[in-house]
Symmetry: C2
Subunit: 269 residues, 2 copies
Amino acid sequence: MTVKQLSLPELADACTDLGIRNVGLWREPVRAHGLEATAELVRDAGLTVTTLCRGGFLTAIGTKERARALEDNRRAVDEAATLGTDTLVLVSGGLPAGSKDLRGARERIADALAELGPYAERHGVRLAIEPLHPMFASDRCVVSTLAQALDIAERFPAHQVGVTVDTYHVWWDDTAPAQIARAGSRIHTFQLADWTTPLPHGVLNGRGQIGEGAVDMREWKGYVEAAGYTGAIEVEIFNEDLWARDGREVLSQTASRFLQHAIQPPDAP
Amino acid sequence: MTVKQLSLPELADACTDLGIRNVGLWREPVRAHGLEATAELVRDAGLTVTTLCRGGFLTAIGTKERARALEDNRRAVDEAATLGTDTLVLVSGGLPAGSKDLRGARERIADALAELGPYAERHGVRLAIEPLHPMFASDRCVVSTLAQALDIAERFPAHQVGVTVDTYHVWWDDTAPAQIARAGSRIHTFQLADWTTPLPHGVLNGRGQIGEGAVDMREWKGYVEAAGYTGAIEVEIFNEDLWARDGREVLSQTASRFLQHAIQPPDAP
């Protein structure tokens, strides 16, 4: 999604050229290219799909709408399995129109996971609840903190339901480091984006390129590593300015920012 | 601030006409009208000033800048005392340019309060730390939750330093009800605004009129009352659309929304 201006074949080529071996995919471009064709593309390019984004949107109240959401999530699990990734990221969904009941919405997510967790397990896929920044609590994701995500995830086995740790969503939270320790093997993926202001209208596409904002990437990498995380680290930036630029150039810049701010020692030249 | 299109004399008149006996003021319009003139105006109108907004911005690192901030806060305390209010609301300040150290910034706030708390007490004024929504953590207020605010406030006597509970900033936080109970007599003021989306560019002026968003006002009023709060309830909305309308009409609408959504039983006609 960071370089959504690239088609999937262009992305695969650019990854190969830059020596990037892992890639997180979103469902929409996969659907556009074709699921089987994408699976073949990444296989041929020798790429590992780290996660598929996204399932979720499980807060609806109506029976029909809930059934539709569950069906869509089962399809997302199938797609993840076909792409060879073991992790489906879940964005839980916002408040239904007119509702002010965050607690009830969170419970409906847990109800849905009781059905989806075993289904995902049978397909070799883990569900990773992603707490989104509290500014998305009403319209996108009623799960706003790692504590809330873990309160739900811990009702299920860790190989069925875990969490996504994304620096953009948790960086402000002084309780997040302890929650990362609590999460342990439930950290199913770790994502980086930087926090920059001013936020744009609608706030969705204002994530900052690594190194341009308020987040200390090494610090958060340290927390997840101390909790035992050894998986891939994803960079997931939604940013209109990055999308307007040449995709290969953005991918190259992102890779080098990642090395500079997350991997190399802070005083590296 | 909800009706900043009204001059202070117009505001006093409108309050009198609508039977509103309490008003929260901001420093800028007070300064524009004159401090002594404002004190006389509210006295003559029989209005009680609930709080003065705002002191704070205490996160600077440099010695000179810190001294300037402390001096400005002492002036704000003096102004509060002159206006006859016992509460100065503090917006703590964001990260200094280039800093990623939220913890350090929060500690500098505590350091400043060790100087300002006793000064305020001598003038009969309490300092009310206002946690701002986490979307303001980098550029406006590094104190994002009631828990963080209380962690600082509790280092001082409750009659020196407490907190502001504003529904707009805490509504998403499932730990906030317990923190309100923890706060008890440290709740120095209680403010209402509703959460609506989409947020505008810069997110500052997107607060919703009471009843138009995701916040259950009665629920939060119940929490602060259960914690022993008996003070005034302020409505503080920053909203370009409200500011573009006739100020008296907005004040009247706000008063009636307040009654409808915070005071009357939910099934009132």
